[in-house]
Every structure is written in structure tokens, then in C-alpha cells.
């Protein structure tokens, strides 16, 4: 039982709507799990089930090998998608309050809050009312509220929404640092770019079900169609026309092509070298973005 979290056939319905339909999954310690899926797929419900904010209709959830208990909440940090803080409270005051609720002493809480405010560069705002802060600053406060008690499992629902690219980078850095320090992280996102360089594990949820699961590498391999990305200047041989899936004009007379699978790569290269200049010739793995769209569209049709 090395996994930190395991869901066994968990189902949750709201009225007639099934938000989560017999979902089973396991999460290994110290992984970063990216939770992908279109709007309304059930991502947020899945995270709320893990945090015990809502209880499953059926199925079981295990935390550290045992059926999840109310006291396990202390080991989790949660950043909800719909951010919520006390608007009329001072930054430090409310963070200390949240920390206390998660079992920290006032002294430890204050220490941790000060530390985090400094790390995120908003220490000067600690005695201000929350409502006087900018949206990005409020998001940082919200992020701190999720991590300040050093949770074993950190659950982030759309952690980058509301941040400008520079601040998103700061948060990404902190998530990486927490991961290195041994925290297991689950986060849901629409941002495919962050998925590929942050996650060690991916789950794609669609229509209340898990439709894809694995490491980014594995998933992309799974969708490998043997396609080739070619950047080339010169005329393409006629025999290539049937292979072209996409083409794009680049500057200096260069063209970029996406070519379908062909068993004889060597022959292709020889032909190309005779006719013009090859700038790039590489194996093309579909991006998570493409896979995402692919899966979602497939199920629609």
C-alpha cells in the first residue's frame, strides 16, 4: 500500500445529474497529478470528494491505505476553484485563522504565514484588509491558505487562473519546490502548457468518467501515429503529396509540414536531401492539447 490516495468506483450524483461515475484511480506519493477535462466533466466534484467536502453516493476513498477519515483533512491543503476569503479581514489574521483550523498553534501559524508572505513577495500587505488587495495578490493569499500547514497532499483547482504570466511562473516554481520537498500534488487545469512540464501523471476526465490515465510520455506515445514534423526549403517530391496532413509557410521560403506515417524514413530523407534543404526532421508526438481535443471530439461524434 504505497499509494497516498486510492478511489474505488466512486460515484456522486446531484439530482439526476451524475457528476462522477464509477471513478477508480490511484495516486502515488510525491507525484504531481494533472487533472484535465472540459468544463462540467466532473473535475471539481472529484476534488471535493477527495477533500470530503461532498461525500460519495457509493464507492470508497482510501488515504494512506486506510478509508478516509475526517481527521485526514489536516493532511490536505485545498485551493478551491471559486476562491473564497474573508473580504473584511486582514491578510495575516485570516491566514492564521485557517492555519489554526488545520491544527497549527497560533505561534507556528504566525511563523508560517510570515514565511509564506515573504516567499510570495506580499509581506508588506499582511495588515491590510483583503478587499484592498489586487486580484493577483488575493490569489496569492488564497494559495498560501492551501499550503501553510505543510500538507502531505495538496489539491489545487485551477491554480493558475487569475495570475498574470509572471506570477503564474512564481506559483509554478512554488509548486515544484513543494513537490521536491515531498508533497503530493493534484491539480486541475485547462492550461495544457503547464501540464506537460509540471505533471508526472495525468488524468483526463470526460463526462464523469476517467478516459485517459498515465504519465504524459505514456499518453503521448499512446497517441503516436508515427507522424513526422518537417521544415524544408525547396520543392517537395510528388510522391510526398499524399503524406501531407498540414502545411504552413514560414519565412525565408521555408515551409513546415506534418507528414503521415511512412515506413521508409530513410528513402524519404534521401529524396528530400536531393531536392532541397532540410531544416528539421523529427518524430512528431501529439501535444496534450491535441489529445485533449481528440478525445473530447471523439466522444461527441
Amino acid at each position: 500500500m504505497s499509494e497516498i490516495l486510492r478511489l474505488e468506483s466512486v460515484t456522486k450524483t446531484f439530482g439526476t445529474h451524475t457528476a462522477i461515475d464509477h471513478v477508480s484511480l490511484t495516486i502515488q506519493p510525491q507525484s504531481i497529478l494533472g487533472l484535465l477535462g472540459p468544463n462540467g466533466a466532473g473535475k471539481t466534484t472529484l476534488l471535493r470528494l477527495i477533500t470530503q467536502i461532498v461525500l460519495p453516493d457509493s464507492g470508497r476513498i482510501f488515504f494512506n491505505g486506510n478509508i478516509i477519515k475526517e481527521t485526514d483533512r489536516a493532511g490536505m491543503g485545498y485551493l478551491p476553484e471559486e476562491r473564497g476569503l474573508y473580504r473584511k479581514m486582514r491578510v495575516q489574521e485570516q491566514l492564521v485563522y485557517f492555519a489554526q483550523l488545520r491544527g497549527m498553534s497560533v505561534k507556528d501559524a504566525k511563523h508560517s504565514v510570515t514565511d509564506w508572505l515573504q516567499r510570495l513577495d506580499i509581506a508588506h500587505l499582511q495588515n491590510q484588509l483583503l478587499e484592498t488587495l489586487s486580484k493577483g495578490q488575493q490569489q496569492k493569499v488564497q494559495f498560501i491558505s492551501a499550503v501553510l500547514h505543510q500538507p502531505q497532499l495538496l489539491i489545487l483547482d485551477e491554480p493558475f487562473s487569475g495570475f498574470d504570466p509572471a506570477n503564474a511562473e512564481v506559483i509554478k516554481k512554488e509548486i515544484n519546490a513543494l513537490h521536491k520537498a515531498g508533497t503530493t500534488i493534484i491539480y486541475s487545469t485547462h492550461r495544457m502548457d503547464t501540464v506537460e512540464d509540471l505533471c508526472t501523471e495525468l488524468i483526463l476526465v470526460h463526462q464523469a468518467k476517467v478516459v485517459l490515465q498515465g504519465t504524459p510520455e505514456k499518453i503521448r506515445k499512446q497517441f503516436d501515429r508515427g507522424q513526422i514534423r518537417l521544415v524544408y526549403s525547396g520543392e517537395l517530391p510528388d510522391s510526398f503529396q499524399s503524406l501531407i496532413l498540414e502545411q504552413k509557410e514560414l519565412s525565408d521560403g521555408k515551409k513546415s509540414y506534418l507528414l503521415g506515417a511512412d515506413k521508409n524514413t530513410k528513402q524519404l530523407l534521401t529524396l528530400l536531401m536531393e531536392r532541397g534543404t532540410i531544416h528539421a526532421f523529427e518524430e512528431y508526438l501529439p501535444s496534450m492539447h491535441d489529445i485533449f481535443l481528440n478525445v473530447v471530439n471523439e466522444s461527441k461524434s
Partner: protein, 419 residues
């Protein structure tokens, strides 16, 4: 359990810093005095006049008009027939005054139960009428004020007004505070749902702890307020005692009688004496303790119901439609208030003072009239038991319903297995 304390503390500190709390605390005594004195003032302004039958010696010829804004005097024969007529239910007479020429004394028979002020006014008027007008004219040799004996035939004691007042006052205060602070608990819960803090809270706190923290936090605020008022009362009381001696010292009767000849305002002193006597006869300690216990238990009961409503709704507008139905039992008790204080031992009064949703108000109305201790204890136990049940109910609603946006709670959810 520690989490309840943390939520409680947070709720408490947050609330006592609010302007609304400070204003309420300072205005409370003023408001409560209004609540106390407006009904008294209104009741003084009664338009119904009192019919007085005067049995006078040889008065047939007397046609003088003694009627004033309080009394209508009727001259009747000085015989047994008039007395019999007076005693009949059907007669419109409230007071019969009989005069004995031999002893120069009069007896005032009171069927209605006049208030002290009215009694004094009547005595004053009679002395005036008899000694100055009637006797001077017809019996000049008797022109000194006749001795007067006042006999009350009314069942109502002269303290009844005071008892009703004390009952009403404590009941109104309990009703108001249960309502006001119960709604605060609901609002607080709905607020946190609206601004979404609830998700941050609920991923670290058991819903039940969160709810109890809020209910108890608001209760602590309320007790602080009462504590402040109690201190204020003690302080004012001590200042008062310091300046005027014991507040409940009665005025010297002889002194009043002497003063009455000079100023008619002295009847207020008389009124005070009756008030002070009545006050001393009140079971003050019992009223105080009952008030406290009924307030706390009643508040807890209603606050847990309000909390459950808060957990089931998503926004403030939705909660408003529940506010009245929840407190309807308390409100309805007030519709019966006149009935309860006029007959505190009637079946309706007894039932209402046992039924937990109405007992905080109904029993407070009854206690000043002297209620057996065991009755109060049973009623309190019923209330406490219901509180335990309602808290369990509310905690179930919280566990299952607090974040089920858009899904109505079903009975299956409610009784379903937790895990």
C-alpha cells in the same frame, strides 16, 4: 472539539468589533425602556370611564355634575336595594360609595379593581365632593372629611399589572434576542457560502464543528451584551442607592398623606409604594434564573434550526422566506400573551409553556404569577431535549447539504448512511 473553539473565537472577535454590535449594546437599554413603558403609557390613556354609584343622604335634590375624565358619578338611593343592584353582574356600576351619616364615614366598594392611581384620584374626588359640596350644603355640622374605608371586591390583585408587565417584558426580550441572534447565525453561514469561504473552511473543519462554533460564538456575543447591561444596571443602581438610599425604600405613608393636601402629584409616591411592594413580592431570583436558562436553551434550539436553514439555502433571499415560519411558534405565543397573563393557569397557557418551541416565551409570561418549580424544570428539560434533537438534525443537514449546490435535500440523503 478544539476547532469549535477556534471558530467560536473568530466569530466572537469578528462580531464584537462590528458597529452594529456596539450600537445595539448602547441602544439596548433605551429600547428596552421603550418596550417597557409604551404599553404602560398606552394603558394609562384609557378612554373607558369608571361608573361610580354614590349613595348619599337625602340627595334627591342634588343635581351637581361630578363627572370628569375618569369618573361618571351616578346618584342612587341610600338603601339596601341599590346595594343589591350593585352586586349584580349586569349592573354597569364599578364602584359603590355608601355613606353613614352617624359615623361620618364612607365605604368604597370596588368591583373593578382600580389601579393605585385611579384609587387615589377617586378618594380625592370623593373627599372633595362630600366634604366641600355635599356636606357643606346639607350637613354643615359634618363638614370635616369623612373617614374612608376602601374595600376591593375584584379578584385581580393590585400587583397584577406589575406581574403582567414583568412577564411581558422578559418574554419580549427573550423573543427579540432569540429572533435577532438566530438570524445572525443563519446570515453568517449563508455569507460564508456566498463568498465561498465555506469550501476553504470545510476542507479543514467538520461541518458540525463549524456550525457549533458559529452558534456558540454568536451566543457568546449575546452574553457579552447581557453582561454589559447587567454591569450597567448594577452601576446605575449603586449610583442611585448612593444618592437616594435603597431604590426600593418606600415613601412614608404619613408623609404622602400630608403632601397630598399640598400637591396632587404625591399620588405618584403612592404608586411607587405599591410598585415597590409588588416588586419585593416578585420571585426575582427565579425570574432571573429562568430568564437566563430559557434564553440560552431557546436560543440554542432556534439557532440550530436557523443554521440548518442556512446550510440548505444558497443565498440570502432564499433564507428570508424561512425566517418568519421558523419563529412563528414564538410569535403565535405572543398572540396568546394577553390570554396567558389574564389566566396563567389555563390549559392553553400550560400547554404553551411546556411545548419547547413556545415555552421560552410562554413560561416567562407565567412565572411572575407564581409557578411551581417542578413545572419550570420539566419545561426546561423538554426544551433542552428538543435542542439536542434539533442540533442532531442540523448536523445531518450540514453533513449532507451544505455544499450540494442546486440539489434539494431529500429524506433519503438525510437518513442515508454516512459512508
Amino acid at each position: 472539539m478544539k476547532q469549535i473553539w477556534i471558530v467560536l473565537k473568530q466569530e466572537y472577535i469578528h462580531r464584537i468589533q462590528k458597529r452594529a454590535f456596539i450600537v445595539m449594546t448602547l441602544l439596548g437599554p433605551v429600547l428596552s425602556l421603550c418596550v417597557l413603558f409604551i404599553p404602560v403609557y398606552l394603558s394609562l390613556d384609557t378612554t373607558e370611564r369608571i361608573h361610580v354609584w354614590l349613595q348619599t343622604p337625602d340627595m334627591q335634590k342634588q343635581t351637581g355634575n361630578y363627572t370628569d375624565e375618569t369618573f361618571i358619578f351616578h346618584l342612587v338611593e341610600n338603601d339596601k336595594k341599590a346595594e343589591q343592584e350593585f352586586m349584580q353582574q349586569a349592573s354597569n356600576a364599578d364602584i359603590l360609595v355608601s355613606y353613614s351619616t352617624e359615623q361620618n364615614s364612607m365605604e368604597v366598594w370596588d368591583k373593578k379593581g382600580l389601579s393605585t392611581a385611579e384609587q387615589w384620584k377617586l378618594k380625592n374626588k370623593l373627599q372633595d365632593v362630600y366634604s366641600k359640596q355635599v356636606l357643606m350644603t346639607y350637613l354643615p355640622q359634618r363638614a370635616t372629611a369623612p373617614a374612608m374605608q376602601y374595600i376591593s371586591l375584584a379578584e385581580k390583585s393590585k400587583h397584577a399589572d406589575l406581574l403582567q408587565l414583568v412577564g411581558l417584558f422578559t418574554a419580549i426580550v427573550i423573543y427579540f434576542f432569540i429572533f435577532y441572534y438566530g438570524v445572525q447565525v443563519m446570515k453568517s453561514i449563508v455569507d460564508e457560502k456566498v463568498n465561498r469561504v465555506v469550501e476553504v473552511i470545510l476542507c479543514s473543519v467538520k461541518p458540525f464543528y463549524w456550525m457549533m462554533g458559529k452558534i456558540l460564538g454568536v451566543a457568546a456575543v449575546c452574553l457579552t451584551q447581557f453582561g454589559f447591561w447587567a454591569l450597567l444596571y448594577v452601576w446605575i443602581g449603586s449610583r442611585f442607592t448612593h444618592s437616594y438610599g435603597n431604590a426600593l425604600t418606600q415613601f412614608d405613608d404619613q408623609h404622602i398623606q400630608d403632601t397630598l393636601h399640598v400637591s396632587k402629584d404625591a399620588w405618584q409616591a403612592l404608586e411607587w409604594n405599591v410598585f415597590a411592594q409588588g416588586f419585593e413580592s416578585l420571585p426575582l431570583l427565579l425570574i432571573g434564573i429562568s430568564f437566563f436558562v430559557y434564553f440560552i436553551l431557546g436560543y440554542l434550539l432556534y439557532a440550530s434550526i436557523f443554521a440548518a436553514i442556512g446550510a440548505m439555502t444558497d443565498n440570502e433571499t432564499d433564507t428570508q422566506q424561512f425566517t418568519f415560519p421558523i419563529t412563528a411558534p414564538l410569535f403565535i405565543t405572543f398572540l396568546f400573551a394577553g390570554f396567558i397573563i389574564s389566566d396563567p393557569y389555563s390549559q392553553t397557557a400550560i400547554v404553551l409553556s411546556y411545548f419547547p418551541l413556545t415555552s421560552p416565551v410562554a413560561m416567562m409570561l407565567r412565572i411572575p404569577f407564581g409557578i411551581e418549580l417542578w413545572e419550570i424544570v420539566i419545561s426546561m428539560f423538554l426544551l433542552a431535549g428538543t435542542f439536542v434533537l434539533s442540533t442532531y438534525f442540523a448536523s445531518q443537514v450540514f453533513k449532507r447539504g451544505v455544499l450540494q449546490y442546486g440539489k434539494a435535500m431529500s429524506w433519503k440523503d438525510f437518513f442515508g448512511r454516512n459512508k
